[in-house]
Symmetry: C2
Subunit: 237 residues, 2 copies
């Protein structure tokens, strides 16, 4: 797997990094690692008119806390396409994580978001792109698999002027092979307040996470397994 | 090159096709070929806040003329990133087509646009995606090269739930190896009014194409070489 880095983060030494910052726990931890490694954070958040737009507020708080050099919140209304419980009137499943790819899958989302990070990276002259995908405690989304991330990294060099002229983009996915308990531990080690992030797909009244969607379940199980307290106030479960 | 089709178009037999419709001559001809082949046209136009937003009106006229089943005009404000003469305050070159990739290159544009077509294709259950790229009479953009289109096609199957479940997307680039004169001839053969399309990067007062940007030059040279009249009223040249 060329062009992708899944173990650790090299020293940034003041270089610019483009960080895909959804506002979830995973992207918060990635951004924390990027800051720790000494990069200048250029954070990109996509407002895709998602059901859980609450995560955008979280992204804003995280970018501010981590002193991002720049934070772009880019609107891309994926409700125009629909096709997901996060972008159409389809109920978010609450029964627990199953074996199939769930209806919360958003068609081609990570491809779209990585393509946007690449576009911005090329404009600002950065070649280090960070994304918080992981494929251990996850919902089975195809675009979280290492083979997808690796293929995207190869494509990045073909798709761009910078690549045609010899630049080599690296897609860093430092959480790729980490479980949620490890991610919770990293959050704690980096002294990141977990309540600053938002994972729930189905925000409840009074701004509380539902506690029962896949995303809540995976997150809660991670904190529990790590023996850590999650700062969020769940509505149920 | 698996998964890409650059020679002719198979019969659509009423299947849905996703057509990336910029409003330029090339995408108009592609849409005409798609209609001729008997597909149901689902046209996608990206309003990326481009300098030549006039092309969006052209896309609308073309989609209406070709009786597209659906036409989505999706806003994606690439001026938030900038970095191109089409999305920032950078002058459009008028000296003629050179050897280098020009400043009208928009970072990762075709990757972004193909990713959006893929997302929509997956939602509507289509696997045939059409794009009007060509790499003969063109400005040297890296994301018009067949190796990029081919790599994207491979990635499409990794990036999606449909692909993970066995669907195979095909990226049709029927103009890939055609020159502009051939494209002008196809436009004529399909009885498409060239004035319905818009290619100019730098629209002039009174809604006239400049006649001097790369896009105007390539188009005019194509019509001239084909011995055909272009219905547009150029401001100069």
């Amino acid at each position: 797997m060329q062009n992708i880095a899944t173990q650790g983060i090299p020293q940034g030494s003041g270089r610019k990094a483009i960080v895909l910052l959804s506002g979830g726990l995973d992207s918060m931890v990635v951004a924390g690692l990027v800051r720790e490694a000494g990069y200048r954070i250029n954070a990109l958040t996509i407002d895709y008119n998602q059901r859980h737009r609450r995560e955008i507020e979280a992204a804003l708080a995280i970018a501010t806390h981590l002193k991002a050099e720049r934070h772009v919140i880019l609107p891309l209304d994926l409700r125009r396409f629909g096709g997901s419980a996060l972008t159409a009137d389809i109920e978010v499943p609450k029964e627990g994580v199953g074996d199939d790819i769930p209806v919360t899958y958003v068609p081609a989302r990570n491809l779209l978001f990585l393509s946007l990070t690449l576009a911005w990276a090329e404009v600002v002259g950065a070649t280090d792109i960070f994304i918080g995908v992981n494929a251990l405690d996850y919902s089975g989304y195809p675009d979280c698999r290492p083979e997808f991330i690796s293929a995207f990294a190869d494509l990045a060099n073909l798709a761009t002027k910078a690549g045609a002229e010899g630049a080599r983009f690296t897609i860093h996915a430092p959480l790729q092979f980490m479980g949620k308990a490890d991610i919770a531990r990293e959050s704690h080690r980096l002294a990141l307040d977990s309540a600053m992030s938002w994972s729930c797909y189905d925000p409840q009244p009074a701004g509380r996470p539902c506690g029962l969607c896949d995303s809540c379940r995976l997150r809660r199980a991670g904190f529990a397994a790590a023996g850590l307290t999650d700062g969020l106030d769940y509505a149920a479960g």
